[in-house]
């Protein structure tokens, strides 16, 4: 069976797995963004706390993905939960780091001016610091998404959802019927998804970044 035949014959399944893959990545990155932003906002003004946050995220990041998913099994068993937990942890590093870099990179004169006009801490954050740091934060989210896209394939190892299943089952029976086709379909699907997400981020960046910040 040719690759094309393989894809058409399993179109529905592949489509479903692609959807699952995208949905999982999207949700994990969203979750990581919420957590990452919260961590960054809570730590960026105290340098040792900010360092601790980035340091911790880096340590998590250095754990090999296979090991990470494996470590999830005794705690969360198999399926969606361990996949989401592991992926979110991976997604955190670029987000936390960029949020902290972005927020602490805001010109202190801007904060001084904002405070001097009588903005409360929360107003300064919402109206000045976050909008100014936004391009950097968004870049972090984008990098994190690309990263998660690839790592998500390994979620199949803990019976997680997504295109990883195609790749794993293909690789497991290499030489057998359609083995290569399956691995190829999974890989190409992930690449396609990554490109699609990236395009979306460019669009989001255009729409959400102030014209005053674009050069």
């Amino acid at each position: 069976m040719s690759f094309w035949d393989y894809v058409t014959s399993r179109w529905d399944l592949l489509l479903f797995e692609t959807y699952q893959h995208a949905s999982m990545v999207f949700q994990c990155v969203l979750l990581a963004t919420v957590i990452g932003l919260a961590v960054a906002v809570a730590t960026y003004r105290t340098s040792w706390l900010a360092n601790l946050a980035t340091g911790t995220a880096s340590v998590i990041f250095t754990i090999p993905s296979f090991a990470m998913f494996g470590l999830m099994i005794p705690v969360f068993g198999l399926g969606v939960v361990p996949s989401v937990v592991a992926l979110t942890l991976y997604a955190l590093l670029p987000i936390i780091r960029n949020c902290i870099v972005g927020l602490s990179g805001v010109d202190p004169a801007m904060v001084d001016a904002a405070r001097g006009m009588g903005m409360s801490r929360a107003m300064v954050l919402a109206r000045v610091e976050l909008p100014l740091a936004w391009p950097v934060i968004l870049t972090g989210v984008r990098v994190s998404t690309m990263l998660t896209m690839g790592v998500a394939a390994i979620a199949a190892y803990v019976s997680g959802p997504g295109l990883g299943d195609e790749i794993f089952s293909g690789l497991a029976r290499l030489g057998g019927a359609n083995a290569l086709n399956a691995a190829l379909a999974g890989t190409l699907g992930i690449i396609l998804l990554a490109l699609l997400f990236d395009a979306a981020y460019i669009l989001i960046g255009r729409l959400t970044t102030s014209r005053g910040l674009r050069v």
Binding site: A109, D112, G116, M119
Partner: protein
């Protein structure tokens, strides 16, 4: 200047700011009164604590001890954010937010104070006009689309948005070129003529202080007030070598620049009517042992001609047939520097001073010298 004062008095009493781990306080027991409607300039070298002292007023830096009274009210009893909404704040380059349009930048405080949309839009337009930027063009621009001078104007407009009685300006014109800076300074003075805010202005540029300040506070380390006086007094009689060093070499020249002709003792000459008899005038000049007489226009009292004693020797007929026309006069509002300029330019020994189109007296090189000497004398006696 308008009579209604838009500003309020500020009193600093025993104000001290100590940072933990530092032996000397950054601001050490500062007590001063800033009069309502005046521009007070804090001037001093870097590290003198001038900016810190200014930031104590709007509590961007919380004092360790001491009192701040704004219009008699204790600023430390208010919520800091609330307090700051009623104190204008301008920093270098305006401190504009690059992600907001000019209109949004100006509207920040009015929005916090929950003004309605229409009122905010009207206020933005009014302020932009006031600082000389056309609202139709500039409301929708972003700060990066403006020149340095324009950004600074928007910064001032933003600080004035909610019409605060007090304005704090932290080296606002430090980042623009000298020509733009001089223009911005002139504009600020013109605005102040209209608004009479209480303005605390921080700079390290003594010339800027002299130009803008109704009063100057020269600050040394620990924000110690070395001298707090009107510019002319500081120039005429610097308190010590520190102030003298700050004024620089040409203090006398600067003094010329801040002293107005109307405020000094003018020389007087014989004044005569155009139809006065020349021989009569000659005799009178001889009696008084003077050299020059000035011929005044009959109705208006404007100086029209000069005559000197030699020209009138053996003369007869109306005095207006002799001497030469007066071509240079100066007004009472002119500075001594301008008077000096007029003297040198007209190649005359004396220049008549005209106040409200009437002759008031004369300025000669000697008058200027005497004036400076007496200013010094007066300042010393105080």
């Amino acid at each position: 200047m308008s009579d209604d004062v838009g500003g309020v008095q500020i009193d600093l009493r025993n104000l001290t700011k100590r940072y933990p781990g530092q032996a000397k306080p950054a601001v050490d027991d500062v007590t001063m009164t800033i009069q309502a409607g005046e521009i007070v300039v804090f001037v001093g070298p870097s590290g003198s604590g001038k900016t810190t002292t200014m930031k104590l007023i709007n509590r961007l830096i919380e004092p360790t001890s001491g009192e701040i009274l704004i219009n008699g009210e204790d600023a430390r009893k208010k919520k800091a954010d609330e307090l700051r909404r009623h104190i204008g704040y301008v920093i270098q380059a305006g401190g504009l937010f690059p992600h907001m349009t000019v209109a949004d930048n100006i509207a920040i405080v009015p929005r916090i104070l929950k003004w309605d949309r229409k009122r905010i839009a009207e206020r933005v337009e009014e302020l932009l006009t006031m600082v000389g930027l056309e609202p139709e063009i500039y409301t929708t621009r972003y700060p990066r689309q403006l020149s340095g001078g324009q950004q600074q104007r928007v910064g001032v407009a933003r600080a004035l948005a909610a019409d605060p009685p007090v304005l704090l300006m932290d080296e606002p014109f430090g980042a623009v070129d000298p020509i733009t800076r001089a223009k911005l300074q002139d504009e600020l003075l013109a605005l102040q003529d209209e608004l009479s805010k209480t303005i605390v202005f921080v700079t390290h540029d003594f010339d800027e202080a002299v130009k803008l300040g109704d009063r100057i506070a020269v600050l040394a380390e620990g924000s110690r007030i070395v001298q707090y006086a009107e510019p002319a007094e500081i120039l005429a009689n610097p308190a010590d070598d520190f102030v003298r060093g700050f004024i620089g070499e040409n203090g006398a020249m600067k003094l010329l620049n801040v002293t107005r002709v109307a405020d000094i003792d003018l020389d007087q000459a014989l004044t005569v009517a155009p139809e006065a008899d020349a021989a009569e005038v000659h005799r009178e000049l001889a009696d008084r042992d003077e050299h020059w007489a000035v011929v005044l226009d009959r109705g208006a009292g404007r100086p029209v001609r000069w005559v000197n004693r030699e020209e009138l020797a053996d003369a007869s007929g109306p005095v207006e047939d002799f001497g030469g026309p007066v071509d240079v006069t100066i007004s009472g509002r002119s500075t001594l520097q301008e008077a000096l300029e007029a003297l040198l330019r007209s190649d005359a020994e004396l220049v008549p001073v005209v106040v409200k189109r009437r002759y008031r007296g004369l300025v000669t090189l000697n008058t200027v010298q005497q004036a400076i000497a007496s200013l010094r004398e007066k300042a010393k006696r105080r």
